[in-house]
Symmetry: C2
Subunit: 457 residues, 2 copies
């Protein structure tokens, strides 16, 4: 299929219908009314702003979470903003279907209304980057810049966002480190279209510094400081925020996620297909056959995850997996890879290892022979010999990797995510076997299809 035809087919699926659009507009009008009415009653001096993809009309069909920002005057003390912001959010949310308090730099209210998630976020009413005081303040500026510069290329943004989702490179959350929506919008604005972004995926990296806001002329000193800081941090891309010369929009983008775009863009241009945007349900396969093919073994720890949000849980799972990797390699097992995740409240850590048993006897180095400790060592061990000044002996060791892991956990010799220590102590340790719901995950991990750049088309 030719590329235009592919894009048209995709657009049919991701462009909101007139009906959806009407629903969204209606919803926003209604929310605005509720907000304004709530703001007026106790005499708050606050302006409600819609920000995010809904406000910019770059949302994907079916994906319309609302971001309603409550902008306080810039002279409001921070403490007051926190307090009154939350109070106001709650007051608005009372009029919606349900809500809970969520936490970022400041607490905010996450409500539900007519089946849509509505974030009510207090911020300052900033007009320029010089006014920015809290992390969320910039959103209003972003919104304005995109609306000003997009010039009707909304569908191109939709294509890019959907493409990034399809190849698993979308989302700037710390445990994803992919492309944010705002970054996608800027790239479309800069290169002109979805296809031009793909064509420039390579060039982008060699160019390295993108400056659509022209800050390197307008605020050279500050912008250069940003460039040099981000270059030191070895980011794949430095895109100076068009609304704030101090910020790299791509600061959270990892080399991995950028690399995925890099290869997938080339693949798509060579061989365009809808599947980049909507990958077929992931490859299925038998993890036991993978183990057999590779001659390796799979250790899976399954445990009740503590009650925490995903962006706290996942990094801790990753840290724990790295802890296991390190401890096991000290113990003579080679960890070829690891994979973490959760199915509902059940978290798992998978470790692919080279063998399930290690040698029964190990050489144990002892102290220098002419010391008190040398005599102890000599007395305690059955076969003792000297190499250089040190005594050596044989040591019988635990054989099975499961036993080794149990011992490591008991002795606290694995560095784990701090909130996971206790649950890992109670983990089930499964060897070359996973429960039904993890079978395909195990396959995707062992086959590396989970990360394979060549997978899925």
């Amino acid at each position: 299929m030719d590329v235009e035809a592919v894009l048209q087919k995709v657009l049919q699926r991701i462009r909101p219908t007139d009906e959806e659009r009407a629903f969204v507009e209606d919803l926003m009008t209604e929310l605005k009314g509720i907000a304004e009415e709530t703001i007026e009653s106790p005499g708050f001096d606050v302006k409600p702003y819609f920000v995010g993809s809904l406000a910019k009309d770059t949302y994907l069909a079916g994906d319309h979470d609302v971001d309603l920002f409550l902008a306080f005057p810039r002279d409001t003390p921070l403490e007051e903003l926190r307090e009154k912001g939350l109070e106001l959010g709650k007051a608005i949310a009372e009029k919606l279907d349900s809500y809970e308090i969520a936490y970022a730099e400041h607490p905010y209210v996450r409500a539900e209304y007519r089946g849509v998630s509505v974030d009510l976020v207090p911020c300052y009413d900033v007009e320029s980057w010089r006014d920015v005081k809290t992390a969320v303040d910039r959103s209003i500026l972003h919104n304005g810049w995109v609306l000003e510069n997009l010039n009707g290329r909304n569908d191109e943004v939709r294509l890019l966002k959907r493409f990034l989702k399809g190849i698993n490179a979308y989302g700037s959350e710390i445990y994803i480190r992919g492309f944010s929506g705002y970054l996608a919008e800027i790239l479309v604005i800069k290169y002109g279209s979805f296809l031009e972004v793909l064509k420039n995926a390579d060039f982008m990296l060699s160019q390295k510094i993108l400056d659509p806001g022209n800050w390197l002329k307008r605020e050279q000193k500050i912008a250069m400081k940003t460039v040099s800081r981000e270059a030191d941090a070895d980011r794949p891309l430095i895109l100076i925020d068009p609304v704030d010369p101090r910020r790299n929009v791509a600061a959270n983008l990892s080399w991995e996620k950028y690399g995925i775009l890099y290869f997938k863009a080339a693949q798509f241009l060579e061989n365009p297909s809808e599947e980049f945007f909507f990958p077929r349900t992931q490859k299925r396969g038998n993890y036991l056959s993978e183990l057999k093919r590779k001659g390796t073994h799979l250790v899976t720890l399954v445990f009740q995850a503590p009650d925490m949000v995903e962006d706290v849980l996942l990094p801790q799972l990753e840290r724990s997996a790295r802890g296991f990797e390190k401890a096991l390699s000290r113990e003579g097992f080679n960890v070829l890879g690891w994979n973490v995740g959760h199915e509902g409240s059940k978290a798992f850590i998978m470790l692919e290892v080279d063998r399930r048993e290690r040698e029964k006897v190990r050489i144990k180095p002892g102290p220098e022979f002419f010391t008190e400790r040398g005599w102890d060592f000599y007395r305690k061990n059955e076969r003792v010999w000297i190499r250089g000044k040190r005594l050596f002996a044989e040591k019988t060791v635990k054989e099975d990797i499961t036993e080794v892991i149990v011992e490591l956990i008991e002795k606290n010799q694995i560095s784990t995510g701090k909130n996971l220590r206790e649950c890992i102590k109670n983990a089930e340790i499964l060897l070359d076997y996973v429960p039904k719901e993890l079978k395909n995950e195990a396959y995707l991990f062992l086959s590396r299809e989970k990360w394979n750049l060549k997978g899925q088309q």
Copy 2:
């Protein structure tokens, strides 16, 4: 048995009988006659000296190699000494049963006479350490010092030498690095008896510097230089040669051999037995059972050793074993120990490894993804993913350790003793199997009985 009774029994076995003594004296008289007669004929100005354990009467029964030194005047040029010394040696040896030329610092003649090996070694006729010009010159001084100081404790020296042989710590050759005969003699002279040497085996180390020649007073500057040099070299013992303040008699003693004396002395004093002096023929056992017990594997390389003396061959075998250890651990095999040696002209290198196969699939790190080489790597491999900036792929690897070794040898990736490279290329590589003549060697190695400090009594 009490210790005196043990020593008496041992002495009966190691003290030469009157008959042997008569034979030795007769032999020496005869050799002296032949030497003097040969020296006179072409008008050599050379004095024959007997040195070594025969001359000092510290030889063990049945062990009576003759060292006949041919001492040239001190003003003989070195070149002349080499030439005439060899010539004279040959002339004497012509009158004996057979001979060959051997090589140390200078060539000398090794002859056979009446079933005894006779070394005819040219040297300078030195009277003091200041005259010493070649390595062998000191022997005459050693001989004199021992004769002067031994005071009838010849049997004590015999006991100590036999003990050191029994525990496998005798011999100052570079591939043994144990106690020399002269060192044993000095220790007996210093501590008074065999038992006192054993009782001081520990103290000796803490005292560290032994100076029976009183050089630290007589030649303080030179002796201190020796002490500081040898302390820097971290010798277990510094025994300033009573005939030469520049030399540490224990310079070649290794920590291992000293350590063996250290533990065996304590064992003997606690539980005296003849077996320390005459260990039962080494423990026998089944190496295959050892492999099973330990869960490890044995790789043995057997090859035709090149024609070289043992003190060149053994260090090269050791270097090669270390080369294998290093290369195999790079390849994912853990080498628990190695053992080298030869049976006649067949040399062997044994390596105990943790497993005979390694995983079939390995993770292969590739180049950074955004490079030409990155694209190559991407194209060449089936499953490719990114970690950081680098590409990774799976790689199928050779499985069997034998194949791995063959490949390592072919690719010259093992650092070996320089004269062994070619023979190792033609080595037979045996896995968990050794030829009949190496069966017990394999057992002693795998069980570590070969080096076990607690073995053999």
